[in-house]
């Protein structure tokens, strides 16, 4: 009995020590992370620091949250169109002038109109196999687990970054994704007074790292999403 009690106490002590170490590591915002090779840098320095250089290529990643995920994606599209083609599987909500305002070269953006979940999956499959784009953006869809697994395999095999835009990733997508980021609106930045004489200067986002193969999850970055320009929006 005594031996059992001792071992229980030892286990308890170890568990406490492990939890303390885990919380200490999670709390370290400035945990040094070495830049990784083969990453795709975004146009957002805070995010690149969070991800140790950028998005790893050849994976499925998710950008989640209600606000800000497309702003982050636009930065990535802007960076990628300098070097290669980018494909966006569009469910009809894309606003291309916003991408152009973010610095993306629209000539290198293939816009694939998709309506149904199966079309999204098949289009992503064709694009991944063709290797013509290094970045593919697609909306989250409700499909079988095996389809996500297949897309992840294809992305890995062909070195293509597949980003899934989801308000909240489901279990199958979460399992297939090697990188998960969650964007949350922190605050709106106003310019001038409200009403006719005011304007939104932008907003601040809190980007949470929820899953990464090499970096401890739980880290955060604050990203300021720039000026809502008059030219672009009014």
């Amino acid at each position: 009995m005594a031996a059992l009690a001792l071992s229980e106490a030892a286990v308890h002590a170890r568990r406490k020590a492990f939890e303390a170490l885990k919380s200490e590591l999670s709390a370290k915002a400035s945990l040094p992370s070495l830049p990784m090779e083969g990453t795709v840098a975004t146009a957002i320095p805070e995010l690149d620091r969070l991800l140790a250089g950028g998005f790893p290529s050849g994976i499925v990643a998710t950008l989640e949250g209600a606000t800000g995920r497309w702003s982050v994606a636009a930065g990535l599209v802007s960076a990628m169109t300098r070097r290669s083609l980018v494909a966006i599987l569009d469910d009809g909500a894309l606003y291309p002038p916003g991408l152009a305002d973010a610095g993306a070269c629209l000539e290198r953006v293939l816009i694939v109109p998709v309506r149904k979940a199966l079309e999204v999956a098949r289009a992503a499959d064709i694009l991944l196999r063709s290797r013509i784009c290094r970045l593919i953006l697609m909306p989250a869809i409700a499909v079988r687990d095996s389809i996500w697994a297949r897309l992840a395999t294809l992305a890995h095999r062909n070195g293509v970054l597949l980003i899934v835009m989801a308000t909240r990733a489901g279990a199958a997508l979460s399992a297939a994704a090697e990188l998960r980021l969650h964007c949350a609106l922190e605050r709106i930045i106003m310019r001038g007074t409200h009403g006719l004489w005011g304007g939104f200067a932008g907003f601040e986002l809190r980007v949470n790292l929820r899953k990464h193969k090499h970096i401890l999850p739980g880290r955060q970055a604050r990203v300021r999403v720039g000026e809502v320009s008059d030219a672009a929006l009014r």
Binding site: T67, S71, V109, V112, A123, F200
Partner: protein, 416 residues
């Protein structure tokens, strides 16, 4: 020296041109009934050339006028004056002076206007001062004035030789599954590719005709991203096009024709190792289009008041990376993180106002609001639009663009 061939009733014009190949290999086909033959380096004199031209065209039974001159206008003028005339170099102005303005192939209205000004002959036109005449009649008048003086700068464009490259297979059974069709297709494309290479040509497009057992014919036009003679590329494109197709009965015949033939080999970029392959892009786009039944597009932006009018979609056209001048030498084009608007399907919303500003949107409190911005498109539009747009932040954190049109409120999009 050029030889002008002017025929009154050119029913068999192409055949006549083929026959004229025996006189000169370089023929500029202006229009049915009018052609010029470049005689530089051809043995014999003008009389002998004309005699040979008459001999080869004799069997066609058309009324023929021949003329010779140092350039096109002189040769044509010579043929106009009398069949068999020759305009010697230096005597162009003298020959043209008495001829009518219609020889310049200008619009009847212009001829009429000139006639009202007393200009009826080419000599009258040549006598006009160049500057004031061009200022009055536009830049095209400079060419008319030169032609009237016997100066013809129009280039000699030799007609391309019609080479038909095609391969077909008929009467060798019926194909009921796609593997058989693809096998036959590959065989035909091997032949087409070999013929293209033998002729030193590339195809810019392919035409496929499928004959079905029920006597129907299905045709497919397959444009290639870049003209090519590469069999694999042609096969991939053809297969991608056929992926979405279904047929009501078995296929009993196939014909593949190479179209838009071009001379020479394929262009290769010297420093294009990182370029994407336009053929591969074209194959992928063809596969996507076959699967979706819609075009793959790219967007271009434009100036407009309404959000939804600020961009247009066009079919995606792929160019090698090195041909994009916009980014070459400007790797650090300004990049900004800007809020991205997502255009939702427009739906009516319930808005409560307080102090003439939205206070509640669909039951949610408005935390912050800016606007309105009046958008009015009245002039030159079929359906005039006037609306007031607002940006609002709702209590659930949604950052949206809403607008009021008339007495109704609508949700236009959300910022993500």
């Amino acid at each position: 020296m050029l030889l002008c061939v002017d025929v009154d009733f050119p029913e068999l014009w192409e055949e006549m041109l083929d026959a004229l190949d025996a006189v000169s290999p370089l023929i500029d086909d202006i229009r049915p009934g009018l052609a010029f033959l470049e005689m530089h380096g051809i043995a014999g004199d003008v009389r002998a050339w004309m005699m040979q031209a008459r001999r080869v065209l004799n069997g066609f039974g058309s009324v023929l006028r021949l003329g010779a001159g140092p350039n096109k206008i002189a040769a044509r003028a010579a043929a106009y004056v009398a069949d068999g005339s020759i305009c010697e170099p230096g005597s162009e102005c003298e020959l043209l002076a008495l001829l009518p303005l219609t020889l310049l192939d200008i619009e009847a209205e212009v001829v009429e206007r000139l006639a009202l000004l007393g200009i009826e002959r080419l000599g009258d036109l040549a006598a006009l001062p160049h500057g004031p005449f061009v200022r009055r009649f536009g830049t095209a008048a400079a060419r008319w004035h030169e032609l009237a003086r016997g100066i013809d700068r129009r280039p000699f464009v030799p007609r391309s030789r019609a080479v038909a490259i095609e391969a077909s297979i008929f009467g060798e059974g019926r194909a009921v599954d796609e593997a058989q069709v693809f096998f036959a297709l590959r065989m035909l494309l091997t032949r087409v590719s070999a013929d293209l290479e033998r002729c030193g040509k590339r195809a810019g497009a392919l035409h496929l005709a499928l004959e079905l057992e029920d006597a129907q014919t299905c045709t497919f036009d397959v444009p290639l991203a870049m003209p090519t003679a590469h069999e694999r590329t042609m096969f991939d494109m053809m297969r991608a096009k056929l992926e979405g197709a279904t047929f009501e009965s078995a296929i009993v015949g196939l014909r593949v024709q190479a179209r838009q033939l071009e001379e020479g080999g394929e262009a290769q970029a010297l420093f294009g190792a990182g370029d994407f392959d336009p053929q591969r892009v074209a194959v992928t786009i063809a596969r996507l289009e076959a699967m979706l039944g819609e075009s793959i597009v790219r967007a271009t932006t434009r100036e407009a008041h309404l959000l939804e009018d600020r961009f247009v979609y066009q079919p995606f056209v792929c160019q090698p990376e090195s041909k994009h001048p916009e980014f070459v030498g400007h790797p650090e084009r300004s990049r900004r993180i800007v809020p991205q608007l997502r255009l939702l399907e427009v739906r009516e919303i319930a808005v409560e106002l307080r102090a003439r500003e939205p206070a509640m949107v669909d039951g949610q409190a408005v935390m912050q609001c800016v606007g309105p911005w009046r958008i009015a498109e009245r002039a030159f539009t079929i359906s005039p639009v006037t609306r007031d747009e607002y940006d609002v932040v709702l209590e659930d954190g949604t950052f949206a663009r809403i607008y009021r049109q008339g007495s109704h409120w609508y949700m236009r999009g959300v910022y993500e």
